[in-house]
Amino acid sequence: MKINKGLSTYASMLMLAGGILAASGVQAQSDATECIAPAKPGGGYDLTCRLAANGLEKTGTIDKPMAVSYMPGGIGAVAYNHVNGVRDDDPNLIVAASTGAAVNLALGKFGEYDADDVRWLGALGVDYGAIVVNADAPWQSLDELMEDLKDNPGDIAFGAGGTVGSQDWMKAALTAKAADLSPRKLKYVSFEGGGEALAALLGNHIQVFTGDLSELQSQLESGKIRVLASLSEERMSGPYADIPTAKEQGYDVQWPIWRGYYMGPNVSDEAYQKWVKRMKALSESQKFAELREDRGLFPMSRFGNEFNDYVLEQVDQFESLAKEVGLKQ
C-alpha cells in the first residue's frame, strides 16, 4: 500500500491533465457537416440547427447526418468569435442565427467583429412578433391600447423574455415609437424567457406582453389572452387568421424573427454556393414545409447574397434605433 501513496498523487495529476486533453480532442474535425447552435441545448438556436439537420437528412440532400453541437456564451458572441478566429474557412460548418443576433451585432455586443465579418447564408423560416394582453384587459384593439399608452405610459407595464436592448425589447420599443412615445419612457420588465413573461401576463403583473406568434398557440385556444396585433407584413393563416396586423390598424410596426445561418468569413465561394443551393432546394420541398410547420415557423426564403444584404441592412436599422433611444453612442 505504500507505493500507492506516491502513485496516487501522480495518477490524480495525470487524470486531471488527461481530462483537459480528452476534452480538447473532441474538437477534431471531420468532413461531415456540422451546425453550431450558439446556446445551450433546448433553445431556439437548437431548434434552428435541428430544422436544417432534420430537413437536409430527410430530403436526402446530405448523406451523413448533420452533427449539432452547442457553443453557449455571450448570447452568440462566443460562437461568432470562434467562427471568425478559429474555423473561419470550414466548408462544412454552418452556425444558427436569428434576428436576435442581428440586434446584438448592431449594439456591438459581438466584440471586435462586425456584421459583415461572416458570410450570411440564408434563412429557412420566420416567426413574427405579437402584442398580447390578458383576456380581461380593457383594450379590444391596438388603437385603444395606443391611445391609453399615450395618456398613461406609467400605468402600462410591458414585459417580454429579453433584456433592454434585446430583440424582445425592440418589439416593445417600436410599438411605443408608433404611439409617439419615447421608448425611454416605456415601462419595460425583462423576464427570463417568454414563458415567465407570459405567466406574469396571466397573473396581471404586467399589462402587455410582446412575444412571438409561435409561442402563443396554446394560449390562443385557452382563451386567456387576447392578441391585439401581429407584427407581420400580412395576416397569417391557420389559428392566427383572426389576428389583425399592426399595419392594418394604422401602426406601421413589423417584427419578423428570422431563423437562419452564417458561415465563416474565409469559406470559398464554391462551398458557399453549394450551401446556398442546398438550402434553396430544401426550402422548396414539401417534406421540409411540414417540418417547418411542426416547429411553428412561417415560410421565409432568402439565400445567398440577397440574405447577406438583408441582414446587413437590418443591422444598420437596429443601430440607428439604438442610437435614437440612447442605447448606443
Binding site: M1, M15, F110, E196, A199
Partner: protein, 500 residues
C-alpha cells in the same frame, strides 16, 4: 372527472410504454448520477431521438418524463458517494448524505434517499392529479414582488445553517451572490464583471460552478492528503447495505413535510429543485434537529432534500400541463417536445388529447414505482463504488465532467473557468467554509435580484409593491419570524418559567 386518468393508465400500461418508462428511468438515473449531465441536457439530447424513432406523442412524452424523474433520483448518488452534487436539486443532499457515507452507511443512505424520493414524488403526483387546474391559478398570482419575498424567505431560512460559524456561512452566501452577478445584467443588458471576455457574458454556468466548486476542489484535497501518511481515504469499510424499516419510519413526517414543500415550490414558475431542496432542508433542521446533528450524517437531513427535489420535479408539470407555461428549464424543453407533436398544452389538453395528458400523469406513477424498484436493490451495488480507491474514482468523475462540460460549451474557456473555481473552492474548504451556502447564494441571489428589479420596474420605483399582496406580506412575516423567533423564543420561555 378522472376519466382522463383511467384512460391514461390504459395508455401507459401498454407494453411499449411500460418499456419506455423503464428505459427512461434507467437513462435518467444514469444522466442524473453523472455530474454535468442534468435532466435538461439528457432530455434535450434524447428528444430528437424520440422524434426520429417516430414514437407517438404520448410514448415520446412518457419516455422524456421518465428521464426527468429518473434524473432527480440519480442526482443524489454522487452527492452521497462523492460529495459532488449530480444536479442542481442535489446540492443539499451532500450535507448529510456524504457524512453518512463516510460513516460506512452509504448503502442505507442510498436506500433511504430512494424511498424519500419516491414518497416526495408520489405526494406531488397525487397533488398534480387532484388539484392541477386550481393550483395553476395560484401559481400565476406569484409575480415578481411575491418571488422576491419568497427569496427573502429562503435566505432567512438559511440562517438556520449558520450553526457553528455564522460569519463564515454569511460570507459564503455573499460570495455566491457575487459570483451570480457575473454576466449580462438581465434587465438592462449591461455587462457586469465580464472583463470583455465573451465567455463570461452568459454568466457562470451552473454545471461549471458545481463541478469546479465540489469535484475539482475534492481532487485538490486528495492530492494534498495523498502525500500524508495518515492511512487511507478515511472511509471505513462498507457497513450494512440496506436501510432498516425503523430508519424509514423515523423519517416519515420528514418525507411528508418536505414532499409538500417541494411540490408547492415546484409549481411556481421560475423556481426549481435547488430552491425546493434548500427550503425543505432548512425547515426540517429547524423542526427536528434536536441534537444539532444535521450536517454530520442525520438521516432526516438526507430525506428532506431528496423528497423535496423529486416533488418539485413533479410539481413543475402543473403550470406546464395546465397553462402551457414551463415551471422549470426542463419542462421548457418538454414543452418544445410537445410543440413538435403539434400538441398545445393547456386546459384544453385534458379534454382534447386525454391520452397525452392522462398518459403522462399515469406514466409518472408508473415511472416512480419503477424507479423505486430499480434503486432499492441497486443501493448495495452503487455503494460498492466507494470501494474503488478514491484516487481512481474522483479523477474519473472529473474526466467525465470535463468531457460533459466541453460537450455543452464546445469551448475550453469553460474548462479553465471550472479549474479556477475549483481552486477557489479548495481555498474556501481549507479556510473552513462550507460550500452549500456559496451555491445557495449563487442560485438564490440571481433570482432575488432579478425579481426585485422586475417588481421595481413595474411599480416605477415604488418600494410599496414588495409587500402589497397578501402572499408577499405573509412571506415577509414568515421570514421575519424565522430570523427573530429562534432568538426570542427561548427568552420568552425563560421568562415564563421564571414567573411560574
Amino acid at each position: 372527472m378522472f376519466d382522463f386518468l383511467i384512460h391514461g393508465f390504459d395508455v401507459a400500461l401498454s407494453p411499449l410504454n411500460i418499456g419506455l418508462a423503464v428505459l427512461g428511468a434507467l437513462l435518467g438515473t444514469l444522466f442524473g448520477s453523472l455530474p454535468g449531465i442534468g435532466p435538461i441536457n439528457g432530455i434535450a439530447i434524447l428528444m430528437p431521438l424520440a422524434y426520429t424513432l417516430g414514437l407517438p406523442a404520448e410514448s415520446a412524452l412518457i419516455l422524456l418524463a421518465a428521464i426527468y424523474t429518473g434524473a432527480e433520483y440519480g442526482g443524489r448518488m454522487s452527492s452521497i458517494l462523492l460529495n459532488v452534487p449530480g444536479d442542481a436539486g442535489a446540492v443539499m443532499t451532500t450535507l448529510d448524505g456524504h457524512p453518512l457515507a463516510k460513516k460506512g452507511l452509504a448503502g442505507p443512505a442510498l436506500g433511504l434517499s430512494a424511498i424519500s424520493s419516491f414518497v416526495g414524488a408520489t405526494i406531488a403526483i397525487i397533488g398534480l392529479t387532484l388539484f392541477a387546474p386550481l393550483l395553476a391559478e395560484v401559481a400565476v398570482m406569484f409575480g415578481p414582488a411575491e418571488f422576491f419575498a419568497l427569496m427573502v424567505f429562503a435566505f432567512a431560512s438559511m440562517s438556520v445553517m449558520m450553526g457553528k460559524d455564522p460569519i463564515k456561512t454569511a460570507i459564503g452566501a455573499v460570495l455566491g451572490v457575487l459570483i451570480g452577478t457575473v454576466g449580462v445584467d438581465s434587465s438592462t443588458g449591461v455587462l457586469r464583471y465580464t472583463f470583455d471576455l465573451p465567455e463570461l457574458y452568459d454568466g457562470i454556468d451552473f454545471v461549471v460552478m458545481i463541478i469546479g466548486l465540489f469535484a475539482i476542489s475534492e481532487i485538490l484535497l486528495m492530492l494534498e492528503h495523498a502525500n500524508r501518511k495518515d492511512g487511507n481515504d478515511g472511509l471505513p469499510p462498507l457497513g450494512r447495505v440496506f436501510v432498516s424499516l425503523k430508519e424509514v419510519v423515523a423519517c416519515k413526517w420528514t418525507m411528508g413535510r418536505s414532499g409538500l414543500i417541494g411540490f408547492i415550490i415546484g409549481i411556481l414558475p421560475g423556481t426549481g429543485a435547488s430552491v425546493a431542496g434548500a427550503v425543505a432542508y432548512t425547515t426540517e433542521k429547524r423542526l427536528s434537529d434536536k441534537d444539532n446533528s444535521f450536517g454530520t450524517g442525520n438521516m432526516r437531513g438526507l430525506a428532506a432534500p431528496e423528497a423535496a427535489n423529486n416533488a418539485s420535479a413533479a410539481g413543475s408539470f402543473v403550470p406546464m400541463l395546465t397553462l402551457g407555461i414551463p415551471g422549470s428549464g426542463t419542462t421548457a424543453v418538454l414543452l418544445g417536445a410537445l410543440m413538435l407533436y403539434n400538441i398545445t398544452p393547456g386546459p384544453m389538453m385534458f379534454s382534447e388529447r386525454p391520452e397525452v395528458a392522462g398518459g403522462l400523469i399515469a406514466s409518472l406513477y408508473i415511472g416512480n414505482i419503477v424507479l423505486l424498484a430499480l434503486n432499492l436493490p441497486l443501493a448495495g451495488v452503487f455503494a460498492r463504488v466507494l470501494t474503488i480507491p478514491r484516487w481512481v474514482l474522483v479523477p474519473g468523475i472529473a474526466i467525465l465532467a470535463f468531457v460533459g462540460v466541453f460537450q455543452l460549451h464546445s469551448n475550453l474557456a469553460a474548462i479553465y473557468l471550472m479549474l479556477i473555481i475549483g481552486i477557489f473552492g479548495y481555498l474556501l474548504r481549507k479556510l473552513g467554509f462550507s460550500l452549500a451556502p456559496v451555491i445557495l447564494g449563487y442560485v438564490l441571489g440571481g433570482l432575488m435580484e432579478q425579481n426585485l428589479r422586475r417588481a421595481l420596474s413595474i411599480s416605477g420605483g415604488d418600494l410599496g409593491i414588495l409587500w402589497q399582496s397578501g402572499i408577499s406580506l405573509g412571506l415577509w412575516i414568515a421570514a421575519f419570524a424565522l430570523l427573530v423567533l429562534p432568538w426570542l423564543l427561548p427568552k420568552l420561555l425563560q421568562a415564563k418559567t421564571r414567573k411560574a
